[in-house]
């Protein structure tokens, strides 16, 4: 993500939020602090949440029924707001959940970067 996406987009129009959540049994706040080092880009805000509630709240937005949302990358264009208690559906998403999210494309860093560039350019 850092090399293929963030480093290829030199724009302050882009911000990112990394929400680290407890999915695997070794996930905890200490490991989330370690994980921040893989995305040192200053446009990334790193969060740790010690329940799966945030991940669950994103399930309706991406039509995921099997588990809390994780390993997902959601793109929101300028103007879109989060008004309800649950997050809004993204304009675009990629994931690493395999067949559990069959309608959305698997994560491809180059393709994600290209899409983000297009959204940034169309917003200018």
């Amino acid at each position: 993500m850092q090399q293929q996406v963030l480093e290829t987009i030199d724009s302050k129009k882009l911000v990112a939020y990394a929400v680290w959540e407890p999915i695997l049994r070794t996930d905890d706040e200490r490991s989330s602090r370690k994980a921040t080092t893989c995305m040192p880009d200053k446009r990334v805000r790193h969060y740790w949440v010690d329940t799966q509630e945030v991940g669950k709240s994103f399930q309706p937005a991406i039509n995921l029924t099997t588990e809390p949302a994780w390993d997902v990358y959601l793109v929101y264009p300028p103007g879109q707001q989060w008004k309800e208690s649950t997050p809004p559906p993204p304009e675009f998403l990629m994931h690493q959940l395999g067949e559990r999210l069959p309608e959305a494309p698997a994560l491809d860093g180059e393709a994600l970067a290209k899409h983000l560039q297009q959204v940034i350019q169309s917003a200018q």
Binding site: I23, T26, D27, R33, K34, T37, V54, P78, Q81, P87
Partner: protein, 173 residues
């Protein structure tokens, strides 16, 4: 009963002897084990275990598979030494030998359970990258804690509404 006997009883009552495997100081070191896999390969599993501050930590390498400097979760909460290799989805549970130079037990790789014996071949050798990660883990400013309802994220998301926002939901390990 004299004073010495009373003191001895008090010591035994209030300071019971630790069980053999509970946080053995001899665990620190550079350990190597041969792991005979079902496919006939026998890669060497190299594990460094040591204490940073009050916490036992570890990292491992399997050179044959290009695995280098991955973290090991160390649990000494009962009489056994338990190691979790999250990158390999493997668990080891074993005990130190009385002399402290061998660590024997079972490695559970979900599809295969393997008896392994680690030999200590030297002092702990943590990599620079591992130590940097451990330093990050001790730095509370690295992450902002979210409420269960994600209120802080929602507020930030709306404050950045003039920008393109990439939301990533991730497992840290």
């Amino acid at each position: 009963m004299n004073t010495v006997q009373m003191l001895l009883i008090a010591v035994l009552v209030f300071f019971p002897r630790h069980s053999a495997g509970s946080e053995p100081s001899a665990l620190a070191g550079h350990w190597i084990a041969d792991v005979p896999l079902a496919d006939g390969k026998t890669p060497k599993l190299v594990v460094d275990l040591g204490k940073l501050g009050s916490r036992w930590v570890g990292e491992f390498d399997v050179e044959e598979f290009g695995v280098e400097n991955y973290p090991v979760h160390v649990d000494l909460s009962d009489s056994k030494v338990r190691l979790h290799f999250s990158a390999a989805d493997g668990d080891f549970a074993g005990e130190l030998s009385p002399g402290g130079d061998r660590l024997t037990g079972m490695l559970d790789l979900s599809e295969q359970k393997i008896a392994v014996e680690f030999q200590r071949v030297g002092a702990v050798e943590f990599s620079e990258s591992f130590l940097q990660l451990e330093a990050a883990a001790d730095d509370p400013s690295k992450v902002q804690r979210l409420s269960a309802n994600g209120a802080e994220l929602r507020k930030r998301f709306n404050a950045d509404r003039d920008k393109v926002r990439l939301v990533m939901l991730l497992s840290p390990t």
